[in-house]
C-alpha cells in the first residue's frame, strides 16, 4: 500500500509529486498512457511560467517537471486509471492493465478535456480537417485557408501558430471582443494573415471525406454565410475531467470538483483535488502548480494525523495488490 497516489501528470500532478516525494511519501503517479504531461505537451512557447525569462517550450517544461518529481523518488506509471474506489481509509486505484494499487490518500489532478462544438459532422470529420491540436496538425495546412473557433488565449495561440503554415487564418468568435490576454490579442491583431469574424457562430461543417467549408451564423442579426476552407481548429475551452469520480466526489454547478475553501480537501477524507479539475476561473500552468502544492501539503497533513499502524502498513508498499 502507498501513502499517496497522484492521478494526473500536468503541472498540478507533477508539482504535487515533487512536494510529496520531498516529504518522503514515496508517491506513485499515474500519468496516463497517451497524455502524459497533459495539456502543455501540445503547446509551443510558454512565456508566462515564472523563472524562464526567455520562455520555454511546453513539452520541455513538462519533461523538466517529470524529471524533478522522479529525482526525489516519485514512481511514474504510464497507464490510465479505469476505476477509483475512494470510500474508506484505504483507497483503491485500478489501471488499464488490470493492476490495482492501494493508498491512504489520492490526489486527483486530471485537468480538463477539450470542449466540442456539438455539431453533427464534427466527430465524423475529426482528423479529416477538424482538429483540437494546432501543434499536431497545423503542418498539414500549408498554403491553405483555415479557421480557429474561440476567443481565449488558446485560440489566439493556435491562430498565431497556424500562420506559420496557413495562407489565411480566420478567427471565428461569437462575441465582439476577446477574453484572451492583451499580449496574445495584440499579437493576433497585428498578424496580416489573421482575419477576425466577430459575432459569428459555427453552425455547419461541410465536407464528405475532408473539410471543405463551414457555415456561420451572425449572433447579432442571424444572417448565415459560408466560408470555404480546409481546416477547422476548435479552441472553445475545456471541461473538468471528472468522469472517474462521479457519484463519489461532490461537484460544483460548473462541473469542477468541490473543495473545502482554499484547501484541496474533497468531501471524502484522504482524497484531495488540484489543478484545472477544481478551477473554473484561472487555469494557468502556474496556478495549477500552486494547487498541486496545496494538495501535497494537505495530504501530508492528513497522513500525519493517521494512526501509526495504518501508516506503517503503507511504508512497506508492494508494487500492486
Amino acid at each position: 500500500m502507498r501513502q499517496v497516489i497522484i492521478v494526473g501528470s500536468g503541472p498540478a500532478g507533477y508539482t504535487a509529486a515533487i512536494y510529496a516525494a520531498r516529504a518522503n511519501l514515496h508517491p506513485l503517479l499515474i500519468a496516463s498512457s497517451v497524455e502524459a504531461g497533459g495539456e502543455l505537451m501540445k503547446t509551443t512557447e510558454v512565456e508566462n511560467y515564472p523563472g524562464f525569462a526567455d520562455g520555454i517550450q511546453g513539452p520541455e517544461l513538462m519533461m523538466a517537471m517529470q524529471a524533478q518529481a522522479e529525482r526525489f523518488g516519485t514512481e511514474i506509471v504510464l497507464d490510465d486509471v479505469t476505476n477509483l474506489e475512494l470510500d474508506g481509509e484505504v483507497k483503491r486505484v485500478t489501471l488499464g492493465n488490470g493492476d490495482v494499487h492501494e493508498a491512504l490518500t489520492v490526489i486527483f489532478a486530471t485537468g480538463s478535456a477539450y470542449r466540442k462544438l456539438g455539431l453533427a459532422d464534427e466527430e465524423r470529420l475529426s482528423g479529416h480537417g477538424v482538429s483540437w491540436c494546432a501543434t499536431c496538425d497545423g503542418f498539414f495546412f500549408r498554403q491553405k485557408t483555415i479557421a480557429v473557433v474561440g476567443g481565449g488565449d488558446s485560440a489566439m495561440e493556435e491562430a498565431t501558430f497556424l500562420t506559420r503554415f496557413a495562407e489565411k487564418v480566420y478567427v471565428v468568435h461569437r462575441k465582439d471582443s476577446l477574453r484572451a490576454s492583451k499580449a496574445m490579442q495584440d499579437r493576433a491583431f497585428n498578424d496580416p494573415k489573421i482575419e477576425f469574424l466577430w459575432n459569428k457562430e459555427v453552425a455547419h461543417i461541410y465536407g464528405d471525406d475532408l473539410v471543405t467549408g463551414i457555415g456561420v451564423v451572425d449572433t447579432v442579426d442571424g444572417t448565415e454565410s459560408t466560408i470555404d476552407l480546409s481546416g477547422l481548429f476548435i479552441a472553445i475551452g475545456a471541461d473538468p475531467r471528472t468522469h472517474l469520480v462521479h457519484g463519489q466526489l461532490d461537484l460544483n454547478a460548473d462541473g469542477t470538483i468541490a473543495v473545502d475553501g482554499r484547501s484541496s480537501r474533497t468531501n471524502i477524507a484522504g482524497v484531495f483535488a488540484a489543478g484545472d479539475v477544481i478551477d473554473p476561473t484561472y487555469r494557468q500552468a502556474v496556478t495549477a502548480a500552486g494547487s498541486g502544492t496545496v494538495a501535497a501539503l494537505d495530504a501530508e497533513h492528513y497522513l500525519a494525523a493517521l494512526p501509526k499502524e495504518l501508516l506503517a502498513s503503507a511504508e512497506s508498499q508492494p508494487a500492486t495488490v
Binding site: S32, S33, V34, A36, G96, G127, H128, D137, L210
Partner: protein, 108 residues
C-alpha cells in the same frame, strides 16, 4: 525508440501496397507529442499480434508524397492496408485497449 520498420515514399509500394500481409502504417512526425506517446503502444500491439498484423512507420516530414496521397491532416494517423487498399483508419493517440478495439477485426 520504436521497433517498427520505417517506410518511405520510395519503399511504400514494395513494403505496403504489394504485400500479402495486413500492414498498418503509422503516419507520424518528430514534433508530434501524441505520436511519441502512442508509438510504444503500437510496438506492443505489433509484438503481441505479430502473426496477424505488421506495423510500419512513415515520417510525414520526410515523406510528403504518401502523406498527401492518403490525405493525412492529423497525426498520429494509423491506416491499415490489405491488398494495397486502406481498409481501416485510426486517428489520434488512444490508450492500448481503445486501439485494440479499433483493430479488433484484424487481430482476431
Amino acid at each position: 525508440m520504436s521497433t517498427a520498420q520505417d517506410v518511405t515514399d520510395a519503399t511504400f509500394a514494395d513494403v505496403v501496397l504489394n504485400s500479402s500481409d495486413t500492414i498498418m502504417v503509422d503516419f507520424w512526425a518528430e514534433w508530434c507529442g501524441p505520436c511519441r506517446a502512442v508509438s510504444p503502444i503500437l510496438d506492443a500491439i505489433a509484438a503481441e499480434h505479430s502473426d496477424k498484423i505488421k506495423i510500419v512507420k512513415l515520417n510525414v516530414d520526410d515523406n510528403p508524397q504518401m502523406a498527401m496521397k492518403y490525405q493525412i491532416t492529423s497525426i498520429p494517423a494509423m491506416k491499415v492496408f490489405r491488398g494495397g487498399e486502406v481498409v481501416k483508419t485510426v486517428i489520434g493517440a488512444k490508450p492500448k485497449p481503445a486501439i485494440e478495439a479499433d483493430l479488433a477485426e484484424f487481430l482476431a
